[in-house]
Amino acid sequence: MWLFDRDLWIEIFHTLGKNMFRTFLTMLGVIFAMIILILLLGSANGMSNGFDKVFAGTASNSLFVWGQSTAEPYKGFERGRRIRYKIEDAEILKKQIPEIEVLAPRIELGNHRGVVTVYRKGQTSGSSVYGDYPEIDNITKKRLVEGRFLNKTDIEDSKKVCVIGEETYKLLFDKGENAIGEDIRINGVFFSVVGVYKPNNNINIDGENAVFIPFTTFQKAFNSGDRMGWMAIAVEPNTKVPVVENQIKDILKAKYDIHPDDERAIGSFDMSEIFNNISSFTNVLKGFSFFVGIFTLLAGVIAISNILLITVKERTKEIGVRRALGATPIVVKRQIVVEAIVLTAFAGLIGFAISVGILSILNSLWGSGKDFPFVNPMVSIPQFSISFLLMVSLSVLIGLIPANKAIKVRPIEALREE
């Protein structure tokens, strides 16, 4: 195999090495192109990772359903009727729609997004108060600083316990004060704090000024009976959220005598939509970076071809001598193409090394993702391999231009004395 011919490589490094400066200038274009490509790709990856981190802890395949008021009169009911779900709806939906993986019912004290005054030893906070099932933790994960989240026993025994957010903690407790085991008072009922959670750098639907108590405790303490405020639902990974969303709405509409075309009565929010939007945004970003990078690379490789073209012109005589000495056209061609490949590949590797260095600097500066979504900016091995392969194949094609020019020169013209 000629590729492993030691002499070929000696010839090539000889030729390239005899004019280091020109060789270096030739490579500069490809080095920069590679840097741009890798930086763009790496940044796009960093952004994508950053968004992933923002949404970490929130089940992407989830939706929320709550009741609103009807917009259409139906079956003798007037419009504007408030829809109030019952706790039994949770079981009905779970039974009828097998695609539902988790269904966490919730009830809220006061109005939606309303605030309730929470007391503790003369300190107060205006917080949202939710009655929840522990399953909610599978959909919107709480990062606990202390203690635990609600659990099954809390539900079964209707324990008077609560988990509070960091904001609420700050309002009710002094700095550094222990909260676990302390009592807080809501609407005259005392709850013992079992956990405190803090923001976890991602979207937090409930906020940090909130108090979570077991659903069953809520029912007893605040006399909510069988009412249910809203449902957080996670569907199976392979199921499309809108499909389940429609099924749920159909069932609920039938149950609560809502006009089939009423769009307002049942409120819902599809989390997956946001995820899809963002992932298509980052995918477009990645595609765009790749596109720009590849064309920059093409420009760089063309620069190499250009310099080789000049080199060939300069080496006309040498090539003529070589051919007079018995170099066949294919040998001459091969040498120039391999020169193009070696230059490109070498320059590409240098550019890659530099850009990886820059990316790791960027990573150490902003890679935590605190200020904006930018986490672990780096290229993947397939991304690198594809760009590298593409670059090398481009260099083969482009190297053929000077190579063909070199063999077009007839030895007799090359050897003509000036």
Binding site: G320, V321, L325, G326, T328, P329
Partner: protein, 233 residues
């Protein structure tokens, strides 16, 4: 060794065509040392190019060691040149970034001779031209005469049937010229066939036969008594 019959060559110059070689008949036996003379425009360079397979004839026959040279592809021509011919140029045409040894080894590289063997062979030819100590030097570090001797070693390295020398002393002073001619004569003494294109009378007389070209035909072809270059060195 070389057989040429009724060779014609013309170049197209726009609408006119320039008839350069007008029926050349020429033979050279093995071991001959032939000087091809003629003023510029006589067609001697064209003849040498055709002999060197750097250019093709329009009509006529050319046999080299019994092999008909006709309608060669570039690849075939390169292989034949490598196998049959050794070139010596007026301006030496050494590759300036290769050492003397590497220059001599180049034709062997194109013959796909292994690296070790190539080095040994190239070194032995350098020794024969008296430049063994200069093996690792670049052409820029050699004098004109030394360069031409490296070029001669290179031409011989592939052990060709015929050496073609195009004004081998054209760029050299007379003392160096005689040194180079002395070397050429010695190589010829060993039985190598050599064709020398020159316009210098004294150089021509150091060959064994002189062929005079004028306006594309051979006007004179005579055997002469060789003047040995040794006495001038």
């Amino acid at each position: 060794m070389i057989e040429i019959k009724d060779l014609h060559k013309s170049y197209k110059m726009g609408s006119n065509s320039l008839h350069v070689l007008k029926g050349i008949n020429f033979t050279a036996e093995e071991g001959e040392l032939v000087a091809i003379m003629g003023s510029s425009g006589s067609g001697k360079s064209t003849l040498l190019n055709i002999l060197g397979m750097l250019d093709g004839a329009n009509s006529g026959e050319y046999n080299l060691d019994g092999v008909p040279i006709k309608d060669l592809t570039e690849t075939k021509a390169a292989q034949y040149r490598n196998k049959f011919l050794g070139f010596i140029f007026q301006s030496f045409n050494l590759i300036n970034y290769k050492s003397a040894l590497e220059n001599v080894a180049l034709p062997l590289y194109y013959q796909k001779v292994g690296r070790k063997e190539r080095q040994v062979k190239a070194m032995s030819y350098l020794e024969r031209v008296g430049l063994k100590e200069w093996a690792e030097h670049l052409p820029s570090e050699l004098s004109g005469g030394q360069k031409q001797r490296v070029a001669i070693a290179r031409a011989m390295a592939a052990e060709p049937k015929v050496l073609l020398a195009d004004e081998p002393t054209g760029a050299l002073d007379s003392t160096t010229s005689y040194e180079v001619m002395d070397l050429i004569q010695k190589i010829n003494d060993e039985g190598n066939t050599i064709l020398v294109v020159t316009h210098e009378e004294d150089i021509a007389h150091m060959c064994k036969r002189i062929v005079h070209l004028k306006d594309g035909v051979i006007v004179e072809d005579k055997k002469i008594d060789q003047v040995r270059a040794e006495q001038y060195v």
